[in-house]
Symmetry: C2
Subunit: 357 residues, 2 copies
Amino acid sequence: MTRAYNFCAGPAALPTDVLQQAQQEMADWHDKGLSIMEMSHRSKEFVAVAEQAEQDLRELMQVPDNYKVLFMQGGASSQFSMVPMNLLRGQAKADYILTGQWSKKAIAEAKRYCDVHLAASTDFASAPTQAELELSADAAYVHYCPNETIGGVRFDYIPETGAVPLVADYSSAILSEPLDVSRFGMIYAGAQKNIGPAGLCVVIVRDDLLGQALPGTPAMFDYQTAANNGSMYNTPPTYSWYLAGLVFQWLKAQGGVEAIGEVNRRKAAKLYAFIDGNDFYANPVALANRSIMNVPFTLADDSLDAAFLQQSEQAGLLNLAGHRSVGGMRASIYNAVPEAAVDALIDFMGDFARRHG
Amino acid sequence: MTRAYNFCAGPAALPTDVLQQAQQEMADWHDKGLSIMEMSHRSKEFVAVAEQAEQDLRELMQVPDNYKVLFMQGGASSQFSMVPMNLLRGQAKADYILTGQWSKKAIAEAKRYCDVHLAASTDFASAPTQAELELSADAAYVHYCPNETIGGVRFDYIPETGAVPLVADYSSAILSEPLDVSRFGMIYAGAQKNIGPAGLCVVIVRDDLLGQALPGTPAMFDYQTAANNGSMYNTPPTYSWYLAGLVFQWLKAQGGVEAIGEVNRRKAAKLYAFIDGNDFYANPVALANRSIMNVPFTLADDSLDAAFLQQSEQAGLLNLAGHRSVGGMRASIYNAVPEAAVDALIDFMGDFARRHG
């Protein structure tokens, strides 16, 4: 088995240790004679796996007791509908902050359910400051994307929204560093960056926000339904849930989010330092708002993009192409991307610049 | 590795060959240096996997060209909402046939979106005949469950509904025998019985039924959105899709649905023959409507249920407990459950009856 360095934005790299454990127990889980994916979601074995995963996530994120942790399906894109359907709670307006492609998509879907007030919008290369936020007193909630995966734009603070619940699409930054969950009404995250395989979406929602879904909300889109049934109103994506549990255990073994956060900041700092110190490469994001998970960069001469991608792939550095909507390059350096991968990328980038600069 | 015989109703047994292939390529797919679950859904590698899976399913089921095949999330339970949200098409009423717990759940959800007319209802131990169906001329569609997983009740014919589209929840019987897809407006099936792991739902829908979703239908619940984007409007459950593709290839290697259908009918026939020929066991379903996938049975003395379950498990025959809503026993004998498993079950049942009868 050879493992390349994988900078994919998502579905993204998983820890090799996790994949090897999953591989080892694929067809015969814990000597039970069957795969964990062949077990009833209501079996005592799977329920134990599921509960352990929730408990580990709660521990890792220090989720307060008055929050439900839900394991749902449909990705963050389904949350773009579920958030207004569940959290408007009889109100007509919600505040959204526009900082990139993902908050833009969330806004487009929300407009189908409520009046969207833009509390701030940027050029997709920075985040607004707290002072720049124009928050509505009558908003049902404030929605933002703390880490824009495509633009590589990160909020360097948690917005203060007073009594109005703050809702965050944390898909590409969840578990990447410590976070005070109590500041949020709700956090959601598609699994396929820092949690596990695609097809699972984690929702962390404060109890008092449940139970007021819009009429016509599908049962499967109602957080209360999921909460009432321990995320097993119907058959959940059991194998994804199991893999997420293995990732949580791996993360605990790394020292948790505090320890991995240090590694992540170090990985990002050295990559940005290299980019800033080399005329051949550039990153367009405001210094204070640079993502520690997704690092987009451009080549001074974009006619070299194809050569860069081809040669980096040959060097075992995979999936460095930027998002199809923006082009250029992007290195996603999630928890499971080791520091050695960033070092190898910097070496390659230096070498490529010398040869082509 | 030991593989037990697994009679779970779902998530259910998968072919051992499929699990072994998945195991072998878990951490390094096709020498690419990463898992298929770590690849972008838009990579040429994954797109090839996804397209091959669709093509194989189309070939296996002989899906006509005027039907879309969609790979969705949220299980059949999400379809209970999506069907009315997409297929009412300006009409107010839909016909539903009630034959068990799953059609009952579909009806409860549909009532939130339209007038539900019961075209027939049974005691959950039989299916109505064509003559017994009271179909409405003004129904937007007719919904039924051709195989009720809990009751083990199977329609022995495809209802004739004239110009009104027929919609079927085929979760527990898809790919179990040949089927004339052209008789249906739409077929859907949660993957976790005959297709792959939980978290994937296959939808086969006729083109002319698309594009008229109710206002307020979440983008992710609109079949047109999925159809327009090749089921990649957002990140699909890539690993489940890949595994489904392996199952389709395995099924083709078995000779397709015609060949597996013969095996399935033989497996079911010998199990029912044994049950009928032994006073110790009973199956309550009308002869014409006995499922070839799910075989519920009771012991004459239900005080022996616990001993039966304990001893069968010790004999390597797993997950024979009936659904928690009905009790008793149930042997789910999907495609991936080999004939030898049914033989072993019959041997055990005979032995148990002799010892306890």
